[in-house]
């Protein structure tokens, strides 16, 4: 690990002043950043420790009837907050399906949004990677790429965003509160991450010094609490990133869906909102045929970026399954294996 200057920020304004300098990086839980620094992928000159900043670890109602989650709230604390789980069950399930209990105890909500891709070529300093080193090329493009993007990718970069938390959040219109050199502003989570295009190194719309201070959920996000699920296919049942995941949040009145919110994970450089599918489902009965149409529409633009054609069909099926589970109703408690399509207990759900 390259050496760095350590700065403990006492206030948000101090943090922004110290963090605006080239080579400065913010440290919160450190679960991704320290890993990247150990591998020489991230080489900051100056580390601004945010963990002592006051007031950023609260979960509180916002003025517009929604919820404001401070950026320093730990993943585990949010996922186990009783009122939060009841109001936003798909978000809690997504959080609990990510990483391990140890990592969830350390990782923060703000840091989760800014975690870097898990593309192995990005992590290997000896490989060409436009995201890590602009203009160096992309060894993933013709390398081991069965887990890479099928939507929104470019020849410059085919990496995916690894967050589970962001997938139901983007479906529920979450907003990111950012404090920067020119004051406070809000950006829709859907607009925070950028698709790679020709500049994959520019991962978000954040400017130097910008600090995420909170994530907000609008009041309408809790209307989906009775029919909300997150489903995640992994290469092993626990403690793995998504091959493909889906968040399905429905409002059902009588025999029809009145409103649908859908997010997809593991398939693009950002959490993917499937708005076309949402439109198709509004007013439709919650049945298998409509779910298949919606899933087909979600993946209509998808194309393989390598040996990952299978992810397109897998994403369709995961979304159909997520919608089916959401329509059946949110379980009383987050399942023993959160977001898993498998259960080792008799009576677990099998293919329908």
């Amino acid at each position: 690990m390259k050496s760095f200057e350590y700065v403990r920020a006492a206030s948000v304004s101090d943090a922004i002043a110290a963090g605006s300098v080239p080579g400065a990086v913010y440290l919160a839980g450190g679960t991704n950043l320290l890993d990247l620094m150990k591998g020489g992928v991230s080489r900051p000159d100056r580390l601004i420790d945010l963990t002592r900043l006051p007031g950023l670890d609260c979960i509180e109602p916002s003025a517009d009837g929604g919820l404001r989650i401070g950026a320093l709230v730990r993943n585990a604390d949010l996922a186990h907050d009783t009122a939060f789980v009841q109001a936003y069950p798909a978000v809690a399930e997504a959080l609990l399906s990510g990483a391990s209990a140890q990592l969830r105890n350390a990782a923060t909500i703000g840091g989760n949004l800014l975690q870097r891709t898990r593309c192995p070529y990005f992590y290997d300093a000896a490989s060409a990677c436009n995201r890590r080193e602009p203009g160096s090329g992309c060894d993933a493009r013709h390398g081991e790429n069965r887990l890479h993007a099928v939507l929104g990718w470019s020849d410059a970069c085919i990496a995916t965003h690894p967050s589970d938390f962001c997938v139901p959040l983007v479906a529920l219109d979450a907003v990111v509160e950012i404090e920067g050199r020119s004051g406070r502003r809000e950006v829709a989570l859907d607009d925070l991450h950028r698709l790679p295009g020709e500049t994959p190194e520019r991962e978000t719309v954040l400017e130097p010094g910008d600090l995420i201070v909170a994530v907000k959920l609008p009041a309408a996000a809790r209307n989906f609490s009775r029919h909300a699920r997150y489903l995640k296919v992994r290469e092993r049942t626990c403690y793995a990133f998504a091959v493909v995941s889906a968040a399905a949040c429905l409002r059902i009145a009588g025999s029809r869906i009145t409103e649908a919110r859908i997010g997809l994970g593991g398939i693009a450089a950002k959490p993917w909102r499937a708005r076309e599918a949402e439109k198709l489902l509004a007013g439709a009965p919650p049945d298998a045929e409509n779910f298949r149409h919606a899933a087909a529409a979600s993946l209509a633009e998808a194309r393989a970026s390598g040996d990952n054609e299978f992810k397109i069909e897998l994403a369709r099926r995961v979304l159909v399954r997520a919608l089916t589970l959401a329509a059946a109703g949110t379980p009383e408690r987050v399942p023993a294996l959160p977001a898993s399509p498998f259960s080792t207990q008799p009576g677990g759900l099998h293919d329908t």
Binding site: E5, D35, Q102, N105, A106
Partner: protein, 165 residues
């Protein structure tokens, strides 16, 4: 530039001067304080061998900068037994063959202490397995580990869950 931090480790306050801000809690415990019970496996947050409790919560000490934890209360495997008297979890690991080579065991036990303190898994074996999935055991003693944790959970009962850790 020298930094100084203070930590309470297994109930003992330690004032520590750090010449280098790169030191993790794991390296501090092992290299500076000779508390080598906490193991370094992958050093990248993937294996769980370095699990310790900070403020009663389990974390991977390999991904924790010591500087960032100034003032923290830390429990390591060395602080779990009372003299010669093993903690019930330690005794249960032995009784249920929850180990073979033993390298992952300190991390497994600290993780299980954290799990019991969290109070989320109860006596559900599937929830225990999921909650212990951040601790790898190359010898494959998972069945015994689950039985050991389950036994201690049962003996504590729901009311006693928060007292143990």
């Amino acid at each position: 530039m020298h930094h100084s931090i203070s930590l309470t480790i297994n109930g003992v306050r330690r004032d520590i001067a750090l010449a280098d801000p790169r030191v993790t809690l794991l390296d501090l415990l092992r290299e500076r304080l000779q508390l080598t019970g906490t193991k370094k496996g992958c050093d990248r947050g993937q294996c769980g061998a370095c699990t310790i409790l900070v403020g009663g919560r389990r974390i991977n000490s390999c991904l924790a900068l010591a500087m960032s934890h100034d003032g923290a209360e830390i429990t390591t495997i060395e602080g779990v037994a009372r003299g010669e008297q093993l903690h019930p979890l330690q005794a249960a690991f032995i009784a249920h063959d929850g180990l073979q080579c033993g390298f992952c065991t300190p991390g497994q036990i600290m993780s299980a202490l954290g799990l019991i303190h969290e109070g989320q898994a109860g006596c559900d074996a599937e929830r225990i397995r999921e909650a212990m999935s951040g601790n790898l055991c190359r010898c494959g003693a998972y069945a015994g580990i689950t039985e050991a944790v389950l036994e201690v959970q049962k003996s504590l009962g729901e009311a006693g869950e928060r007292r143990v850790a």
